[in-house]
């Protein structure tokens, strides 16, 4: 699959309180959560983000709480994938379980600028900056996680195999 979108660039250590502040966690409704996505870092983000846009961030994206509301809010706001220097581990797992594609590439994260058009070949793990033509290789997804994706996510995997 080819994903293509405009880049919103964030810094290092973007925590889950920044992605979706805890004060909005009295619901898990994606349509409600998306109104508050990233507001404590950039209050205009929910108004500016469009379907297909891409979040670019530095190291340790999604650190902090285990809240699955974070990838839910990002996905519901229309963002098609997140590219970061590195991901916090719970956020990384949650993203797969929620069907939000995430790609790790420190080079891409430091090179892509706000507003750049970015293309991602999800099968090959290739990230391309359209304006400059620069290409980056994302870190490969571990085989077991690829199996989960192929099965359609964790819950579908369990249904199919009857166990973990």
């Amino acid at each position: 699959m080819i994903l293509r979108g405009r880049a919103f660039v964030f810094g290092n250590d973007i925590d889950t309180d920044a992605i979706i502040p805890a004060r909005y966690l009295n619901t898990s409704d994606p349509e409600e959560l998306k109104q508050y996505c990233m507001v404590d870092v950039d209050p205009s983000f929910p108004f500016r983000v469009k379907r297909g846009d891409i979040i670019i961030a530095g190291k340790n994206f999604g650190c902090g709480s285990s809240r699955e509301h974070a990838p839910i809010a990002i996905k519901a706001s229309g963002v098609c994938c997140v590219i970061a220097g590195s991901f916090a581990r719970i956020f990384f797992r949650n993203s797969f379980n929620m069907g939000l594609p995430v790609f790790e590439s420190a080079e891409a994260a430091s090179s892509i600028k706000e507003g750049d058009m970015v293309e991602v070949d999800t099968d090959r793990g290739i990230i391309r900056e359209i304006t400059t033509g620069k290409e980056f290789k994302a870190r490969p997804i571990p085989p077991f996680m690829q199996e989960l994706i192929a099965d359609g996510g964790l819950m579908e995997h369990i249904k199919k195999h009857g166990s973990m």
């Binding site: 250590d13 925590d15 309180d17 920044a18 502040p21 805890a22 004060r23 966690l25 009295n26 619901t27 898990s28 507001v39 404590d40 870092v41 190291k59 340790n60 650190c63 902090g64 709480s65 285990s66 809240r67 699955e68 509301h69 990838p71 839910i72 590195s86 916090a88 581990r89 719970i90 797992r93 949650n94 379980n97 929620m98 571990p142 085989p143 077991f144 996510g153 964790l154 819950m155 369990i158 249904k159 166990s163 973990m164």
Partner: protein, 421 residues
């Protein structure tokens, strides 16, 4: 090849042998935990998938502690959803009302998590139980739903970093100061994906409460787990409470670590983490004059009786500074009751502090102590991210109970030595 505690516990919970870091394994889970924020999504995933039974109602625990006592209608609906599910599937350990405590203080106290356990919780501070010598890690709600159905999850065997604390603790230094010092050293992603094994003479002398505080904040270094070898101190705590048998593990002498770091406690004064990351730590003597609007003493990090005793020693006979709100939340009903018996509640009330019910409330900016724009708090909790305790333009400093209590008295970030000789 020698094995670490983490590797031994994981091996005891999987079919695979000779584990090494990087292996992906399927493990059986002893305890599956969720709260009023994370359980509703897990339950919705469970029901959406059309599943009809849980793997073992005795191994699932719900603690409705975050937005309780229910802060609004939406929160009440989330609790109702969890309560109804617990009744339907006969999950007896669903704690709410007068039985609820902050989950990671409550479960050890009740003997529901034990040394050698493999605990999976839909809460990032599940790593707290590493303080008892368990392997415990946080996941999201869908992963937790999968555990509720199958009793299993998948994990990557983590590499282990070893930290040795030598020497004797300085006055007013506790587990919180040691873990803040460690996070200040390695950074908020210094332990990413790894297990942090914490030991050494100072840890061997530390009580269970301090060990739980340290393991609690392993996630603040990005770690998968924090772990402290269970010993006679652990057993003395666990034995009278344990609801089932348990196993004590120790790392082999020739176990393999990616990192070995040694700290001398002689050099560690009470620590403060400045906004907006737990890694921004300073010794109390280097903080400077920082005026405060609020002090919070409580949470899964520092809401245990030992923490309240320290705060009471500092606050006894003194008044909370004019214009400052000091909020004290005993982490469980048993802790609250014990604090009452010991006269600590009286000391706090006479000093002008506010006593609240056991709840996570203010720690995550949920309720019961939210900061306004431009306000500044010092808290014994675990995170000081932007907007963590309220307005995005508020600030949170993190410290242990001694510094928190002293700061409540002076109205600015203070060493306990400033208010007590």
């Amino acid at each position: 090849m020698g094995m670490t505690i983490t590797e031994k516990i994981l091996e005891a919970h999987t079919d695979k042998k000779d584990l090494k870091p990087g292996d992906i394994i399927k493990v059986s889970v002893d305890v599956a935990l969720a709260n009023d924020i994370t359980a509703p999504i897990a339950i919705k995933e469970f029901e959406k998938g059309g599943f009809r039974s849980v793997f073992d109602p005795g191994k699932i625990i719900f603690v409705l502690d975050h937005f309780t006592p229910n802060k609004d209608i939406a929160s009440a609906m989330q609790c109702k959803l969890v309560r109804d599910f617990a009744r339907k599937y006969e999950i007896k350990n669903c704690f709410e009302g007068g039985a609820v405590g902050v989950e990671h203080a409550l479960l050890p106290e009740k003997g529901l998590v034990l040394p050698g356990d493999l605990v999976i919780g839909a809460d990032s501070h599940t790593c707290t139980y590493g303080g008892l010598g368990a392997f415990a890690t946080g996941v999201g709600s869908t992963d937790l739903a999968a555990v509720m159905i199958t009793g299993q999850t998948w994990l990557k065997v983590p590499e282990t970093m070893k930290f040795i604390f030598g020497g004797i603790l300085q006055p007013w230094v506790g587990g919180k100061d040691l873990i803040l010092y460690l996070i200040g050293d390695i950074g908020v992603d210094g332990g990413l994906y790894k297990a942090l094994e914490i030991g050494g003479p100072a840890i061997e002398a530390l009580d269970v409460s301090g060990r739980l505080t340290m393991a609690n904040m392993a996630i603040e270094a990005g770690a998968k787990a924090g772990i402290i070898a269970a010993d006679s101190i652990t057993e003395a705590y666990v034995k009278p409470r344990a609801v089932r048998p348990y196993t004590l593990y120790a790392s082999d002498g020739n176990a393999v670590y990616t990192t070995l770091r040694e700290y001398d406690c002689a050099n560690i004064e009470p620590q403060v983490a400045c906004p907006h990351l737990p890694e921004n730590t300073k010794g109390i003597s280097e903080v400077g004059e920082i005026m405060l609007d609020q002090v919070v003493i409580g949470s899964c990090t520092n809401g245990r009786i030992e923490d309240l005793r320290i705060a009471a020693v500092v606050m006894q006979g003194k008044k909370v500074a004019n214009g400052l709100r000091c909020i004290i939340l005993p982490a469980t009903p048993a802790i609250f009751l014990e604090a009452e018996h010991e006269g600590l509640i009286k000391i706090f009330l006479e000093s002008g502090a506010i006593i609240g019910p056991p709840t996570c409330g203010p720690c995550l900016g949920g309720h019961m102590g939210i900061l306004a724009e431009g306000e500044r708090a010092l808290s014994t909790t675990n995170r000081n991210f932007v907007g963590r305790m309220g307005h995005p333009k508020s600030e949170v400093y993190l410290a242990g109970p001694a510094v928190a209590a002293a700061s409540a008295i002076t109205g600015k970030i203070s060493s306990p030595t400033e208010v007590i000789q």
